[in-house]
């Protein structure tokens, strides 16, 4: 099937995979709280199910990070 890159790390595609399935496969904690980029473009949550990954795709999960000081 090919190879994709998830947060900079290579991952084998063993069968056709949607973004939703990839999120489940990668055990993403709190999937509702993650922003997803596919090949440097943001993908809306409503499109995860219809987006099928192909060889060479780069996926990035962006997580919320607070930190600093309570102002």
């Amino acid at each position: 099937m090919g190879k994709i890159t998830v947060n900079g790390k290579a991952q084998e595609l063993e069968s056709p995979l949607t973004l939703s399935a990839l999120i489940a496969l990668n055990n993403v904690a709190q999937p509702d709280m993650v922003s997803v980029q596919l090949n440097e473009e943001f993908v809306g949550k409503e499109d995860y199910e219809q987006t099928t990954l192909k060889d060479g795709d780069e996926v990035d999960f962006l997580y919320f990070m607070g930190g600093g000081s309570r102002p």
Partner: protein, 271 residues
């Protein structure tokens, strides 16, 4: 600007730097930077900006120093426990570098005061630990065309991006704040103290790069690191046409005070 002999000496390592020089130091010395939050990130940011001789440093924070802050908020000392953070920070900055004018706001940044507070500054540094104010800073800076540095830390990780008008903003990446308590804060999940220094010094460097015009800023990039493996990664980002504040059909046209996480509010009552 004419530097005195002492100032030439004090800033000699900047003046020697080929890309900075006297001209760059003049830009730093006449620069105005607002630091939102005088805590984990704000401490190293304010310290390095003060040492660099930034002309005016604004500090806004409504909190007082707590013993649990001292593990990472290095601008505050044990004797400062109970003192307003902006006062404690101002005292250290004055001792480090009397050239710096420190403007303190012992208050929360709110939808009501944000535009008025940021308008006098060249650059804003987000050193807050909560999403309502992170989004408020983003929106206020996008709406008024003000450059800023976003910073976030949690456990062993940090992330930062720099916004300039026209570049992707924080909301392009994250459209709306997470619901209260959906994402842990440092006060809930902890943070390695030195992470605040790692990220804060990156933010300070971005502010100094902006003032001097040196190099390339972290615009269109989200830099993140994990100190457990000590790996850094910059992800390229683009503006989102669906961005609620800078997209094609913005829905955020005025500033919003989002709800704080419940436990943060109860923490505040305690201190």
């Amino acid at each position: 600007m004419n530097f005195t002999e002492d100032q030439v000496n004090r800033y000699s390592r900047h003046i020697l730097l080929q890309d900075v020089g006297v001209e760059g130091q003049e830009r730093i010395s006449s620069g105005k930077v607002l630091v939102v939050g005088a805590g984990g990130l704000g401490s190293p940011v304010a310290f390095y900006l003060a040492a660099a001789g930034v002309g005016t440093i604004g500090l806004i924070d409504g909190d007082v120093v707590d013993l649990s802050n001292l593990q990472r908020q290095i601008i505050h000392f044990t004797a400062d426990v109970g003192k307003p953070k902006v006062i404690s920070a101002k005292e250290k900055i004055n001792q480090l570098n009397p050239d710096v004018e420190v403007v303190t706001y012992q208050a929360l940044l709110t939808a009501e005061n944000a535009q008025e507070v940021i308008k006098d500054y060249d650059f804003v540094v987000d050193g807050t630990d909560n999403f309502p104010v992170k989004f408020l800073i983003n929106d206020a800076c996008v709406i008024t065309g003000k450059p800023f540095s976003h910073g976030g830390i949690l456990r062993f990780e940090g992330q930062t991006l720099t916004y300039l008008p026209g570049a992707p903003c924080y909301r392009c990446l994250f459209h709306a704040p997470p619901p209260p308590n959906a994402v842990p804060t440092c006060s809930q999940a902890g943070v390695l103290g030195a992470i605040a220094g790692m990220l804060g010094t990156i933010q300070a460097a971005e502010a100094l790069k902006y003032l001097t015009g040196v190099g390339e800023l972290l615009t269109g990039k989200l830099l993140s690191f994990n100190a457990k493996t000590m790996t850094f990664r910059a992800i390229n980002t683009k503006r989102s046409e669906h961005c609620p504040v800078c997209g094609k059909n913005p829905t955020v046209t005025k500033l919003i005070d989002y709800e704080q996480a419940v436990c943060d509010i109860s923490d505040r009552r305690k201190t």
